[in-house]
């Protein structure tokens, strides 16, 4: 897919980065709240971090102009 310019993996990286930052940010904010949902397991924090890490990896690895 590199012959067509921007790789699809770059688009995926951008989207996961945005989602990861939003969800991780909310998870951190949630820590300041007095009550947590019973079955939450702080999922927003670690899942947001996973999405952010994956997004940054793909976003950087497949950035436009970078031949991978």
């Amino acid at each position: 897919m590199h012959s067509s310019g921007i790789s699809i993996w770059f688009f995926i990286g951008v989207m996961l980065t945005i989602y990861g930052a939003m969800i991780l940010g909310y998870g951190l904010y949630e820590l300041t709240l007095p009550q947590m949902a019973i079955a939450n397991f702080h999922a927003s924090i670690w899942w947001g971090a996973v999405l952010l890490a994956a997004g940054l990896f793909y976003g950087v690895r497949f950035r436009p102009g970078h031949e991978s």
């Binding site: 897919m1 012959s3 067509s4 310019g5 921007i6 699809i8 688009f11 995926i12 951008v14 989207m15 996961l16 945005i18 989602y19 939003m22 969800i23 909310y26 998870g27 949630e30 949902a37 079955a39 939450n40 397991f41 999922a43 927003s44 899942w47 947001g48 999405l51």
Partner: protein, 598 residues
């Protein structure tokens, strides 16, 4: 649970009853916050951005309809699976696993994996070497224009109709889960799909399908993970389930084994026998869908080399085997973790019970996945989960629309309406047909809205065409003696037998004991055996007619038939890039899963 139907709801795994059930269920389950809305809005912005970005790379017909045949094995493979992974599949099969247990996983494993591997390793070389642009295109090369046109017209008609049915069902899901207006859901989602497919063609559809595939996993994977954490893993889940069964809180039955109750139709709640699963589902239905339905085959034809085309279904098979983790497992976990407001175990029921008790606060089986999402996913994550459902719907619809566009332009418009036009003309036709296809789909959605029973019948229509098509394609590909007349009559009589058997059981339910070999058989078993009858008829008729008619000379069959085609030798690659190596790994995992959950 695609039964005999190869696309959309059925193909993606939803039984007609489940589809209708989802469509007519009750009130909204979840409420989205600003963060969730932002997640969904970003998704829509992203898919439109991709469509506009790729517009400049869809100028020729090869680019618009075949994505320039530039897809890598990974892109083609993920798109191949994503086009089949609809949101209704997620919800419908999760509901079925809550109701029937892990039996539902048959549709993901034996109902998909052997066929996907067979496509990649055995059939793909012929599809790829003859450079066909579609399955009807292959029929034209092998059997002539007649069979091709019949297959193209039926496929085009069914595809847009199923796209509409899918659209309506999805809008109903959004209404149930979020309380969204039906018209809003239909218009917004279909406009987005129309925009990005019309702009960027198949390349845009495939790009978005890969994006949607990632989103589906990103949004849905968290539910079974958190469910297993809460129950103490698979062992903890089984212990809690056994306790619930012992106390009568959950109906008795074997929820965690796939083959033990397959000895007789009456031994399992699905009313299925192992012969139906193996030969009906595992061969007639599964091979028909995964190897001859252009909706999925189109993605593989867009691969950039024969090796990529062969690897793509193999890569897809690994993800297909993993899908039960985000579909079946949440349904099973729902049996032990879903509780009412007072802490008591929640009991999901059939749609008829929900409908008979309005205002009682009951939820149907099909709502198990949204209920699990609401239980585990907080702000932002819930938006991601809902986005996964929307993405699933849009990938399925884009698959239908892009396949319809290619079939109509290449196999109906070009051979029958305008034969010799410039390439740009066919690209323009393709863009227009994309829009028209979406408009027809919207019309079909509103038609279903006013006549719900159409939904079940439309899906039966699919069953009439795919299995006989399998018989005709297989013989054409592997038997040089098969003739034009044999292919045509095989397709016609195979279809006729399928329709006749369906009508027989419809008007006389007692005929089930003849069609499905047991009076205890249920709908899904009937679909399996009817598919088997249909493909058998197509093969037998094709053989008999071919033996009495004149075969084509061998020189005309080069590139389309085994024995008359030399498969290009590919450059040697390290073992970890070899398609046979990964096929072997897939077979081992497939067998291990079936043995572990025997």
């Amino acid at each position: 649970m695609f039964g005999l139907v190869p696309t959309s709801l059925f193909a993606s795994g939803l039984h007609p009853a489940s589809a209708a059930a989802i469509a007519f269920s009750a009130p909204s389950l979840a409420h989205l916050g600003p963060l969730d809305i932002a997640v969904i809005a970003i998704y829509f912005a992203m898919v439109i951005w991709i469509g506009f970005y790729l517009k400049g790379q869809a100028n020729t017909s090869e680019e618009f309809f075949m994505a320039g045949r530039e897809m890598t094995a990974w892109i083609a493979g993920l798109s191949f699976v994503s086009a089949n992974l609809g949101s209704l599949e997620l919800m419908g099969w999760a509901g079925s696993s809550y109701q029937y247990g892990i039996l539902a996983a048959h549709w993901y494993w034996i109902g998909a994996i052997p066929a996907m591997l067979f496509l990649g390793m055995v059939m793909m070389p012929f599809y790829y070497v003859c450079k066909t642009h579609s399955v009807p295109g292959y029929l034209k090369l092998r059997y002539g224009q007649g069979s091709s046109t019949v297959a193209a017209v039926s496929f085009a008609f069914m595809t847009v109709l199923m796209s509409g049915v899918n659209m309506f069902a999805m809008a109903e899901v959004m209404k149930i889960v979020l309380g969204w207006d039906l018209n809003f859901s239909i218009i917004v989602s279909s406009l987005a799909v129309a925009a990005y497919v019309a702009l960027g063609g198949l390349r845009s559809a495939i790009f978005n399908e890969v994006l949607q595939f990632v989103l589906i996993w990103g949004g849905a994977l968290l539910v079974p993970i958190l469910g297993l954490v809460e129950t103490g893993g698979w062992s903890g889940f089984k212990a809690r389930l056994a306790q619930n069964i012992a106390t009568g809180a959950v109906p008795g039955g074997d929820y965690t084994h796939m083959w033990r109750s397959m000895g007789h139709f009456a031994d399992n709640p699905m009313g299925i026998h192992w012969t139906g699963i193996v030969f009906g589902l595992g061969f007639a239905i599964s091979f028909g869908y995964w190897t001859t339905d252009f909706l999925v085959v189109q993605r593989v034809l867009a691969a950039n080399s024969l090796r990529s085309a062969r690897l793509a279904p193999v890569i897809g098979s690994f993800f297909k085997m993993a899908v039960p983790f985000i579909v079946i497992l949440p349904g099973l976990l729902g049996l032990v973790v879903l509780t009412n407001g007072d802490g008591s175990l929640m009991h999901l029921v059939g749609e008829n019970v929900v409908a008979a008790n309005p205002g009682a606060g009951l939820h149907s089986y099909n709502e198990v996945l949204p209920l699990m999402m609401v239980r585990y996913l907080g702000p932002g994550l819930l938006g991601l989960g809902i986005t996964a459902l929307i993405a699933g719907f849009m990938s399925g619809m884009a698959g239908n629309v892009s396949a319809f566009t290619a079939i109509f332009t290449y196999d109906i418009y070009q051979p029958h309406i305008v034969k010799h036009a410039k390439d740009e003309h066919y690209v323009l036709v393709g863009r227009i047909v994309t829009i028209v296809g979406v408009i027809i789909s919207i019309g079909a959605a509103y038609m279903v809205m006013h006549a719900a029973t159409i939904m079940a019948y439309v899906q039966a229509l699919f069953s009439f065409f795919i299995s006989p098509l399998l018989g005709v394609v297989l013989l054409g590909m592997f038997w040089k003696r098969a003739t034009k007349a044999g292919g045509f009559w095989g397709l016609l009589l195979g279809t006729s037998v399928s329709i006749a058997l369906w009508a027989w059981v419809y008007f006389d339910p007692s005929a089930l004991k003849y069609v499905a070999f047991s009076a205890d058989a249920k709908d899904m078993a009937e679909n399996m055996y009817r598919a088997l009858w249909s493909v058998t008829t197509a093969v037998v008729v094709n053989v008999v007619v071919s033996l009495f008619t004149k075969p084509r000379p061998l020189s005309e069959l080069v590139g389309v038939v085994y024995g008359a085609t030399s498969i290009p030798t590919e450059e040697p690659v390290p073992i970890y890039k070899n398609e046979w190596f990964w096929t072997g790994i897939a077979i081992v995992i497939f067998l291990a899963l079936n043995i572990y959950f025997w």
